[in-house]
């Protein structure tokens, strides 16, 4: 795809949010410009926000714990919202959730309470978007470029990222899909290499 032909081409700063309604057939590319940057992302059926992305349905139906090329991201109705049609990273998390002030306190201690967090970004994006979108709608998300390996013994770990500068993932919209992104501001674990960085977002309309 020619980058010059993209309908949208924006750089999303570290810690910033982005909301976009992706028409069916459109393509969204998320580029990890500097490497090891978690991109927390929510998906909704654009015509029924209650029918949103479901991580557990997606993982069960694909039979594995990580997202990658070929993954179909299912809504609660069991049908895909978007599909991963290109992926130069190789593995993306959808079990680690999005950071919040409250989970930061649990995980890292009281001194992190006032730190910037993804769920605040999502709430701000939802409020700005309006149309009834609120906290009840903020559920399972994808963490693109984030590495959260599970173990056969039942463990789960936040590991160093397997992404690198310039790696990207491309999503094809299977229906009109509302996308909310929080470019993760987390400073307390290796998901952003302890230094959140910008990502590039490109959208091509349906051919």
């Amino acid at each position: 795809m020619s980058e010059r032909a993209a309908a949208v081409d924006v750089e999303l700063g570290a810690g910033d949010g982005w909301t976009y309604e992706l028409p069916a057939g459109a393509l969204l590319r998320i580029v990890d410009l500097h490497g090891n940057q978690a991109v927390d992302t929510l998906f909704f059926d654009a015509h029924d926000y209650a029918n949103r992305y479901s991580a557990v349905d997606t993982l069960r139906e694909q039979g594995s714990a990580y997202l990658g090329l070929g993954s179909q991201l299912l809504a609660l109705d069991g049908e895909p919202l978007v599909s991963i049609v290109a992926d130069t990273c190789g593995r993306h998390d959808t079990l680690g959730g999005a950071c919040s002030q409250e989970s930061n306190v649990v995980r890292y201690g009281e001194h992190t309470r006032d730190m910037h967090a993804c769920r605040n970004t999502f709430l701000a994006q939802a409020l700005a978007w309006g149309r009834g979108l609120d906290k009840r709608d903020l559920s399972a998300n994808v963490n693109f470029f984030m590495n959260v390996p599970l173990t056969p013994e039942g463990g789960l770990h936040f590991a160093d990222g397997i992404s690198a500068p310039g790696r990207y993932v491309e999503l094809s919209a299977e229906r009109d899909t509302l996308v909310l992104i929080s470019n993760c501001p987390q400073l307390n674990n290796p998901c952003n290499g302890y230094d959140p960085t910008p990502v590039r977002l490109l959208v091509w309309d349906a051919p």
Binding site: Y49, A50, N51, S54, A55, V56, D57, L59, R60, G63, S64, A65, Y66, L76, D77, G78, L95, G96, G97, A98, S100, Q101, E102, S103, V105, V106, R107, G109, E110, K135, R136, D137, S139, A140, V148, P149, L150, T151, P152, G154, G155, L156, H157, F158
Partner: protein, 259 residues
């Protein structure tokens, strides 16, 4: 419970042991959740719920909401990442999305309860086992977990937007080193049990219906015994509280709301 209390009567001196006996043996609730049925109720802080897989092979879908404000609810990702686990078992706290512990697993004979593979929908049930209507089967009609959970949620003014990743008690979906999922048949023998102690008043929503990966050719829901009993709150040296610094902070956040 009547039968149990009467059986205890001959060895209990009513003058000295009546109060202790009541504390030890009086259940708040004692029932059998029928195969394929659903249930919901508010379970108070200071109580503990024991779930028993009466026949073996049960799957019990569960969702938890803070009774005082159901906008706060069980959060699978926060539960897993706070404790670095991908399954639930004894010693694991069940976190809300607001950094508080709603309930703790204080006893468990299974060692693994799933929370990362969701529940059945009408389409999945029809595809796996076929439909059976009320007209065809009366109360043996087949309802998916999704339908059961939504009806229970609606009893409390909640709806589809409140559906989040659920717990599947008594089910294990094993994870390979590469991350592949495999349903584990026979994981829960008859008599398996798990006990939840509530750290905050919690709306509990349950559906006793097969997991969508259950390979049984016949639709085989199983009944689950449910007993809610008084329970002392978590002490300073409670094993779930002390399992990790994260849990100490999660318990403190729950207890902070009581002041």
């Amino acid at each position: 419970m009547h039968t149990h209390a009467e059986a205890q009567a001959p060895i209990t001196d009513p003058c000295t042991n009546a109060e202790a006996s009541a504390e030890t043996h009086t259940a708040i609730l004692d029932l059998v959740l029928g195969a394929g049925a659903s249930f919901s109720r508010v379970c108070r802080r200071g109580s503990a719920l024991t779930l028993v897989d009466l026949e073996g092979g049960a799957n019990l879908c569960a969702l938890l909401y803070r009774a005082e404000d159901p906008l706060e609810r069980y959060c699978m990702p926060d539960t897993l990442k706070a404790q670095h686990v991908s399954r639930l078992s004894a010693g694991v706290a069940l976190y809300s999305d607001m950094g508080r512990v709603l309930a703790s697993i204080v006893a468990d004979s299974c060692g693994w309860h799933d929370t990362i593979s969701g529940h059945s929908t009408p389409a999945l049930l029809a595809q796996r086992w076929g439909t059976r209507s009320y007209q065809q089967a009366r109360n043996d009609w087949r309802r998916s977990a999704r339908e059961l959970l939504l009806v229970e949620l609606a009893k409390h003014g909640l709806g589809p937007r409140d559906l989040v990743a659920n717990i599947n008690f008594f089910t294990k979906v094993a994870i390979s080193p590469e991350g592949d999922f495999t349903y584990t048949p026979g994981h829960s023998p008859a008599g398996s049990s798990v006990t939840l102690r509530f750290e905050l008043d919690t709306l509990l929503v349950l559906a006793a219906t097969p997991h969508p990966l259950d390979p049984q050719p016949q639709f085989s829901p199983r009944p689950v015994g449910i007993t809610l009993e008084p329970s002392a709150p978590a002490g300073e040296d409670d094993p779930v509280r002390c399992a990790c610094p994260e849990n100490e902070r999660g318990f403190a956040a729950s207890e902070q709301t009581l002041r």
